[in-house]
Amino acid sequence: MPQVEKAQLMSAPEIDRTLHRLAHEIVEKSGGTKHLALIGICRRGVPLARRIALAMRGIDGVEVPVGTLDITLYRDDLSKIAPQAVLQSSDVPFSVDDMDVVLVDDVLYTGRTIRAAMNGLFDLGRPQRIRLCVLIDRGHREMPIEATYIGRAVQTSDTEIIEVRLREVDNEERVVLLDRTP
């Protein structure tokens, strides 16, 4: 199915500015960063989490541990999605027990990924609190899940696709809105 680019939602400097703002917001609203941890959801949540952690270092030298979580094993649509599923390695090199975890992902859509991520997180321990930070919230939720920190909320239709392209993964840095043309 051909996809046509309709608009650019964010440029590289805009992504950068947004991540810095999110870093500030998280630090500001966490009430102490002692137990704070960022966990990026594979794949694009991972570089985003790393960049937010880097930005936090610039704020009074706040050092926050970063983990990565692959949610493939926790999906509810595994048997619908692909003939054979491929998983990346999860890597959470610290105990999440009693931690103040911020999950980081690129796009919040149906909410199913976040549901799966929380299940995955509980297998690692019992965090004190879990919050969610996304670069783009595009609506159309199918679960009672909302993000605490949002880079940008965008109104979209069902046929549209939002692609967050990051230099670590895509050799390109921008957010675009695509449409499937029938």
């Binding site: 999605i81 390695s89 690129d106 069902d158």
Partner: protein, 331 residues
């Protein structure tokens, strides 16, 4: 690109790329072995039939643990009490099992090629858990995973295999896998167990040589693989256990000829004091228990790969109609 693998019958036909993919996938499951909560719901509602027509304890338990950690159920065919003993044909037995609608069949059989034969008649994935003297793919993969973890690579290593190589499906799977990554092999054991034909079993171009003396075989090795001396076979050609110990046992003095960072593998069960001295079995170079842990991870990866997705038919329907989930598969 995900290589498409329907069954896992042997490592010989798989490419280096496919093998690396399987090892990478296993990596993710190794991490789960360290989780406080090891049980996943990924394969909930699926069932795995374990049909071991030949005795096995550890492989069967390992596949069972892999299935249950992924949330799948298992159906166990108990060979000792089964209809096989009553003279039922292999195909009738597996048809019966298949009629109970498992999603995957894991089987071991004393006849080489039996899993492949069965796979031709079933529409579910078949995993070879060891067939005669042919192959033992999951063991080959777990050996490679263990080597890669300890040595950082499986490329261009010197691998020494000691023992009854002629009867060993483990050795064959290891050679087929590691040979594709440029490893060189030295085989050593009593001459009747190391026939000349073994020099030709690897992938084209693989260097396989035979050594008569263990001291010579171990010299400069990166990995020393031991095989179980099948004590029941020892007296078949004339070689007493004490002769075997004298000539072929891996002990500290002999292992010193290998590289200092060399590791020792054994597929188990070990005969302590026969093919391996206790100090080596319990020493820092021994990877025996890591192999067992890695075995569960490798088998989880195999089951996940074969029955974790939507299957072939679903793949076709999905290619056309996949409205909501596209590049951002889940969100």
């Amino acid at each position: 690109m995900t290589p498409r693998i329907r069954d896992l019958l042997a490592l010989e036909p798989l490419s280096a790329e496919e093998l690396s993919f399987l090892l990478d996938q296993s990596k993710a499951f190794q991490a789960i072995q360290r989780n406080p909560l090891k049980k996943l719901a990924t394969l909930r509602g699926k069932s795995v039939a374990l049909a071991f027509f030949e005795n096995s304890t550890r492989t069967r338990i390992s596949f069972g643990a892999a299935a249950s950690r992924l949330g799948a159920d298992t159906m166990n065919l108990q060979f000792e009490a089964s209809s096989v003993k009553k003279g039922e044909s292999l195909l009738d037995t597996v048809y019966t099992l298949n009629a109970m609608k498992p999603d995957c069949l894991v089987m071991r059989h004393a006849a080489a090629g039996a899993p492949e034969f069965v796979a031709r008649h079933l529409d579910i994935p078949v995993v070879n858990a060891g067939d005669g003297t042919h192959e033992h793919p999951s063991q080959g993969l777990l050996d490679a995973l263990t080597i890669r973890d300890r040595r950082g690579t499986i490329e261009n290593l010197n691998i020494t295999i000691l023992g009854d190589i002629a009867h060993s499906r483990v050795a064959r799977s290891d050679i087929h896998l590691l040979g594709k990554f440029g490893c060189r092999f030295t085989l050593c054991g009593p001459p009747m167990w190391v026939p000349r034909e073994l020099e030709k079993i690897g992938p084209p171009g693989t260097v396989i040589r035979r050594a008569t003396r263990i001291e010579e075989a171990v010299e400069g090795a990166d990995v020393v693989m031991l095989l179980r001396v099948q004590t029941e076979r020892l007296h078949e050609p004339a070689m007493s256990a004490s002769d075997y110990i004298l000539l072929y046992q891996l002990n500290a003095e002999r292992l010193r000829r290998a590289k200092p960072e060399a590791i020792v593998l054994h597929p188990g069960p070990m005969n302590r004091g026969i093919e391996i001295s206790p100090e080596i079995a319990d020493g820092p170079q021994s990877c025996v228990l890591e192999q067992v842990t890695n075995g569960v991870a490798v088998r989880m990866a195999i089951l996940f790969l074969l029955i974790g997705g939507a299957g072939e038919d679903a793949a076709e329907t999905l290619a056309e109609a996949r409205p909501k989930e596209s590049t951002h598969a889940a969100d």
